[in-house]
């Protein structure tokens, strides 16, 4: 098993009085090499779920087993070693604007590098060919020595995917990798991601707003809403009705004004953790 979530409840780190529930009793598991699309309206908890899987957020209840070990029962150092085996790509590309693309991409290898190699690579990139090949898969190879702040939003997003390609992770957690891309590029980027995951037999969990792409390309689809798993099914079992129900009355603040909607109303604005 790549990961198992068992009845996981997550709250955000906010002052005690206003801690909203971000995930409620979520159970989900994936075998190694599975590819899962995570869909749901904005604020449903997709990012929180990915962060929870990446040990970047500790559940208040329930347990997370990553690579068959209970991540939060491990001592600090071992848990951090576990993080080397996964790659969490956040929604906004985490690339320092003043860094060169080659350095930003090779940063994907930092968990594997020793301190000496990491420092030396700041002076002279340790493996430019590796970064070049990764960028080439997103047709960005001519940006190898450009600075990140010279890239457009879409280029930055693909540059951060190139970092994922370079990393040697076995669990790829990707948060909306297509949000800044046009339809053609989105299609291409998704294909590269899926090919790479399949080639190295890595598990891929990808949150998406492009429902059509998710239904066309991912064998398994998980629908998330208000912090709960609404469905978890192979793609041929996901019907238009299920999608419609998932996004019904989706999270406009006006729709959450009746008293029984009080809880989600509190959650919605706070649930996004960038």
């Amino acid at each position: 098993m790549s990961f198992v979530l068992d009845g996981v409840t997550v709250r955000h780190h906010a002052p005690l009085a206003q801690r909203p529930l971000a995930l409620t009793e979520v159970s989900l598991n994936a075998a190694a090499g599975e590819q899962i699309a995570l869909i749901g309206p904005s604020g449903a908890g997709k990012t929180t779920l990915l962060h929870t899987l990446a040990c970047a957020m500790r559940p208040q209840a329930g347990e997370l087993r990553l690579f068959d070990t209970q991540a939060w029962n491990l001592p600090e150092a071992q848990r951090h070693a576990l993080r080397k085996r996964l790659f969490l790509a956040p929604q906004t590309p985490p690339l320092p604007p003043r860094q060169r693309v080659v350095t930003a991409v090779l940063a994907g290898l930092l968990p594997q590098w020793g301190m000496r190699q990491a420092l030396a690579s700041l002076l002279k990139p340790a493996d430019p060919q590796c970064a070049y090949d990764a960028l080439a898969r997103f047709s960005l190879q001519d940006k190898l020595y450009a600075r990140v702040d010279r890239l457009s939003g879409g280029e930055r997003q693909r540059c951060s995917m190139a970092r994922l390609i370079v990393s040697q992770a076995e669990l790829l957690l990707v948060d909306e990798p297509l949000s800044a891309l046009d339809p053609t590029l989105a299609m291409h980027t998704l294909t590269v991601l899926q090919q790479e995951a399949a080639a190295r037999r890595a598990t891929l969990v990808c949150s998406l707003h492009q429902i059509e792409l998710a239904r066309a390309h991912f064998p398994r689809i998980v629908g998330l809403r208000d912090g709960c798993v609404m469905f978890d099914a192979p793609r041929h079992q996901v019907s238009d009705d299920m999608i419609a129900a998932l996004y019904k009355h989706a999270t406009t603040p006006a729709s959450a004004s009746t008293p029984q909607d009080q809880e989600p109303k509190q959650i919605l604005p706070l649930i996004r953790c960038f």
Partner: protein
């Protein structure tokens, strides 16, 4: 209806508060001025004006004999060397302490938002160490060290190293913590080590600010080493002390010009480096 009958603007509701605050401030501050014997008019009395005039008249022309210039150059070199050596030693202490003290780089914080007890204790200890180092002014360190290592630049270098270590460590940590955490957080979450996350995530963003603060501190160290010269730590300060005691206005003027040039030089270096790193 009511609005249309009122022709004049209503009085400013903040006005009374402002007047009260100003009067209160004056009432509180005036006794302080009296107690501190602040009497600026002494500067303007005829005798003082005559003395100031004589001293300032001496300033022109600044001393420019070859022999004095050689002495001044030597003293300048000693001052710059003292400041630079002191800064280097300070950096050796400050950089590791910065890396320890920066909460951004905590690994136990990931996922829980809380740093474990040991981490917090170590950080607190380092912060107090930094407070201790910088709360003693460099002049006081110099006076203490002159007793231990004797007169000469060594005392000045060590004094600068100790105080500036405290200042640099504190401000570096704050610069790093005020940078955008997104890049370093992403690296830490993917299993990178603390130092790697610092070098690849935070430094590109904060480099120019760190450099500009370092150069500014170097400039301060030059000024500081001049002051320490007065207590016998050598360099321009000691020369200036001698010239002042001999009432040699021309020499003092030359040395003041050198200070201005040194500070201007530090400023242009900082500007150049910032432009390179921007």
């Amino acid at each position: 209806m009511a609005a249309s009958t009122i022709r004049t603007a209503p009085p400013d509701p903040a006005w009374r508060g402002r007047v009260t605050a100003s009067v209160l401030t004056l009432v509180v501050l005036w006794p302080m001025l009296v107690w501190s014997e602040f009497k600026p008019w002494v500067l303007l009395d005829a005798q003082s004006l005559a003395a100031t005039g004589r001293f300032l008249a001496d300033f022109f022309p600044p001393a420019h004999s070859a022999e004095f210039l050689r002495l001044a150059a030597e003293a300048t070199w000693q001052t710059v060397a003292m400041a630079t050596a002191g800064m280097t030693l300070a950096l050796l202490g400050a950089v590791p302490m910065t890396i320890i003290a920066t909460e951004r780089l905590s690994i136990s914080r990931i996922g829980t938002g809380r740093i474990r007890i040991l981490g917090r204790a170590v950080r607190l200890f380092v912060r107090w160490l930094l407070v201790g180092l910088r709360s003693v002014p460099e002049l006081v360190w110099a006076l203490l060290l002159v007793r231990i290592v004797g007169l000469g630049p060594t005392a000045g270098v060590l004094a600068i190293a100790l105080t500036y270590c405290g200042m640099l460590g504190k401000v570096y940590a704050e610069i790093l913590e005020s940078a955008d955490p997104h890049a370093s957080d992403a690296l830490l979450r993917n299993g990178a080590s603390r130092l790697a996350a610092l070098c690849y995530g935070t430094l590109p963003e904060s480099a120019s600010e760190l450099v500009s603060y370092t150069i500014y501190r170097w400039e301060c160290a030059i000024r500081g080493s001049v002051v320490m010269g007065f207590v016998g730590a050598g360099g321009l300060g000691q020369r200036m002390d001698e010239s002042m005691k001999m009432l040699a206005g021309g020499e003092v003027a030359t040395m003041l010009i050198i200070f201005v040039l040194l500070v201007a030089c530090a400023d242009s270096i900082s500007k150049m480096l910032r432009r390179r790193l921007a």
